[in-house]
């Protein structure tokens, strides 16, 4: 149990320092208050990921013969396989596009696919 937290507000924190010593917490007290004093929107959950559905559109026979490798950020793999069915992924909030490598028996293509409103659509003609 952190006794310091039971004493709220700046005056309480100063009193706590006086009673218990500030040790490594001297700096963090200010930061702690900073977060405590932040106006946090109602219902905000601090989620750091967002849901994504990746869909391929086109001839199903062609899609079933195409390997997709989906990467984010610095090329980190998040999915490998066909896209015959939509693929659901959870990705960091800041990711705005996917790097998708598509491979058939005879062709390979790398495309940058934007993420818009939780969806990324790859059209294969």
């Amino acid at each position: 149990m952190n006794v310091k937290r039971l004493i709220n507000g700046a005056a309480g924190a100063l009193l706590a320092c006086g009673l218990m010593g500030c040790e490594a917490g001297g700096e963090d007290q200010a930061s702690e208050r900073t977060l405590f004093e932040t106006q946090i929107p109602e219902d905000f959950t601090f989620a750091t990921t967002k849901g994504l559905t990746v869909t391929a559109e086109g001839d199903p026979a062609g899609i079933a013969q195409t390997l997709a490798e989906i990467r984010i950020g610095d090329g980190e793999l998040v999915h490998r396989g066909p896209l015959l069915a939509p693929v659901q992924l959870a990705i960091p909030l800041s990711v705005e596009s996917l790097q998708v490598t598509l491979r058939s028996n005879t062709h390979e293509s790398v495309v940058d696919v934007p993420v818009v409103h939780g969806r990324a659509v790859i059209e294969m003609d």
Binding site: T48, G62, A64, L77, P82, L84, P92, E96, S104, V113
Partner: protein, 639 residues
């Protein structure tokens, strides 16, 4: 976020990627509808793709405050763990297996806490197991009170630190302790449409000894066992849409994704990650990478130094040559037979120079092991994804431990290992051994977990190699018998809706000797699977009464017009497919439809009832399931 991206069309046209001649010629070895070149698992009809959270080689840092609903010091180090998921999917995109790893980083709280995981899918047909530090797997039960998958992964996370008491890795003046990796494997007998965009799903902590005192991420409400009286008590300010939050609006759990630091004891998270305040005040619109920008390392601990393994477990290299697994049989194999193993100590498969199988004892001469997800120690840089030889130490404790690991991986128990200081491996057929010559050290009579290198090459040098390892158990002796003309053959698919006319072979788990199941047709509705006219391939089964039924054959089933024996028989079938009994036909049915009804060389059997459960012993009802009045099993329904 770039405006260019926002106004760009989300559809990317890939003209000319595919050509009709390519479509016509593509090979699909496992007949799952996905061409081999597009199939991550080209030889496995139950799998086609793999997804990861957060990435294939990365892990997300989960951080909890365990005082909730009490006050918070916002240092989020009471439980800190890295989580990594791998989801293996079938051709339809449904999940057939979830593999999860949890690497403990810190236990900075006063309390002892357990770890559990809830998945947004029904628990019907779901089984799970866990292991610690690459050791033996043990089953994980589904929580009875919940309809969804809810699993307790650890009653007390201190078990990952050798039951160490006190605060762990939170005080910068205390010694660093490296915990052990906890792995979880969840198998979905009926592939699940798991909402994987919700990963990491609902991993939550609870007070050890009090499962009702749970602490979840704010999006979740707790399981059926949750003590709802904790909400809005003390310092909690939960609402129906946001729970487990302090009066200040700060959550009791944070997903710090790729963060490399976590707060030291008593230091608020905002001192380490100053940008979190901007993230919070903007409702997540700004500073979305707060855990990686403007970090103040002096206010935190490095994550990397607290880990016993720095990369998530790798997936076993999928078979791309479609090698047919065979059974363990007496005779010379020259390493050509591949015995599937259960993954204990990372052993995925076993090969051998020769074997002698007598009753329940198998002496495996010159065994080789294929390792994945194994851990290693010492020098020699052995790696996963290779076949390795084994060192038996002239029969010393390490040799015994090594053989124990082999036996465990074959669901058997150790019996003996060679005690002579042996020669090198025979090299006839000895190809593909790209690994080292390894041994397992002994820990209290059991294998310790990580592998050690004895010599670089099992075919050269004096490796005191494993001339034989002898195990006792119930072995799959299929081989050419089980996999050939009289047996079930290689499983060709999962239970799929539609008419199969006995042309699909489904792998079973061996319950009451049922190794495989075939069927005339299958209907799936509302999570229930009705198997019409099921056949079973038996090995290691027990029989009673007349009719001389035998193992190694396909048998029909008798449902007794729905009597207690018919129920018991259907229960055995469901259990063998990792499902639960629902119902069996109650009419006195006709004979089996015979379209495609070949290779049924066995009898028409039933399982007698014992106090409401299958007795475990098969009885013959009629000699032939295709003729005579067998009151046959028209259908068996499982879920």
């Amino acid at each position: 976020m770039t405006m260019k991206r926002l106004i760009q069309t989300s559809c990317i046209a890939l003209l000319g990627l595919l050509t009709l001649p390519t479509l016509a010629l593509a090979q699909d070895s496992d007949n799952d509808g996905i061409a081999d070149n597009a199939d991550t698992f080209p030889c496995d009809p139950s799998r086609a793709s793999v997804s990861y959270f957060p990435t294939a080689t990365g892990a997300a840092m989960l951080a909890y405050e365990d005082q909730w609903p009490g006050d918070t010091d916002l240092d989020y180090n009471d439980v800190v763990a890295l989580v990594h998921y791998r989801l293996e999917r079938n051709a339809s995109g449904d999940v057939v297996m979830l593999h999860a790893s949890f690497d403990p980083v810190a236990l900075g709280g006063i309390y002892s806490n357990g770890l559990a995981l809830q998945l947004p899918t029904s628990k019907v047909g779901v089984t799970a197991r866990r292991r610690i530090a690459g050791g033996a797997w043990s089953p994980v039960a589904m929580q009875a009170a919940d309809s969804n998958v809810v699993m307790v992964l650890s009653q007390n996370l201190r078990e990952l630190y050798g039951d160490l008491a006190g605060k762990i890795n939170s005080d910068p003046n205390s010694a660093i302790v490296n915990g052990s990796r906890l792995e979880l494997e969840v198998t979905f007998a009926t592939p699940a449409a798991l909402a994987s965009n919700e990963a990491p799903f609902d991993p939550f902590i609870f007070r050890t000894g009090d499962f009702s005192h749970q602490i979840h991420f704010p999006q979740y409400a707790g399981t059926q066992a949750m003590n709802g009286a904790l909400f809005n008590s003390n310092q909690d300010a939960s609402t129906p849409s946001r729970r487990f939050v302090h009066l200040s609006g700060t959550p009791a759990a944070l997903n710090l994704l790729g963060g490399s630091y976590y707060p030291i004891e008593g230091v608020a998270v905002s001192a380490l990650f100053p940008d979190i305040t901007g993230f919070a005040s903007s409702g997540g619109a700004n500073n979305q990478n707060f855990y990686a920008t403007n970090v103040v390392p002096a206010s935190g601990h490095s994550v990397a130094s607290k880990l016993s393994a720095t990369v998530p477990p790798a997936m076993a290299t999928p078979d791309t040559a479609c090698t047919q697994a065979t059974g363990l049989q007496t005779g010379v194999s020259n390493y050509s037979d591949v015995i599937p193993a259960n993954g204990d100590y990372g052993i995925q498969e076993v090969r051998f120079q020769s074997a002698t199988v007598s009753g329940n004892t198998a002496r495996i001469h010159w065994p080789l092991v294929f390792l994945q997800n194994a851990s290693f120690t010492g020098g020699g840089t052995p790696t996963n994804g290779h076949w390795h030889g084994l060192h038996s130490g002239c029969g010393n404790v390490n040799g015994v431990a090594t053989c124990r690991a082999v036996c465990s991986s074959l669901d058997a128990t150790y019996s003996a290992v060679n005690t002579n200081c042996s020669t090198n491996y025979p090299t006839v057929g000895f190809s593909n051994v790209t690994g080292r010559n390894l041994y397992m050290t002994n820990s209290g009579g059991n294998p310790s977990g990580p592998w050690n290198t004895y010599t670089p090459n099992p075919a050269t040098g004096n490796g005191n190699n494993m001339e034989f390892c002898e195990c006792t158990g119930t072995f799959n002796t299929g081989g050419s018998t089980g996999g050939g003309t009289t047996g079930g053959g290689t499983p060709t698919g999962p239970l799929s809706p539609g008419v199969a006319d006995y042309g699909v072979t489904v792998a079973a788990n061996g319950t009451h000797g049922i190794q495989e199941v075939r069927y005339q047709s299958v209907v799936q509705t509302s999570g229930q699977t009705t198997i019409y006219w099921p056949l079973v391939f038996l090995q290691n089964a027990s029989f009673t009464g007349g009719g001389t039924p035998t193992n190694g054959h396909w048998h029909g089933l008798h449902s007794g017009c729905g009597n207690i024996n018919g129920v018991a028989t259907c229960t055995s079938v469901c259990t063998s497919l990792n499902m639960s009994y629902v119902a069996v036909n109650s009419n006195c049915s006709t004979n089996y439809p015979t379209t495609g009804f070949s290779n049924v060389t066995g009898r028409n059997l039933y399982m007698s009832n014992s106090s409401g459960n299958p007795s475990g012993v098969w009885n013959t009802y009629t000699p032939n399931p295709a003729t005579g009045n067998g009151n046959n099993m028209e259908w068996c329904r499982c879920q």
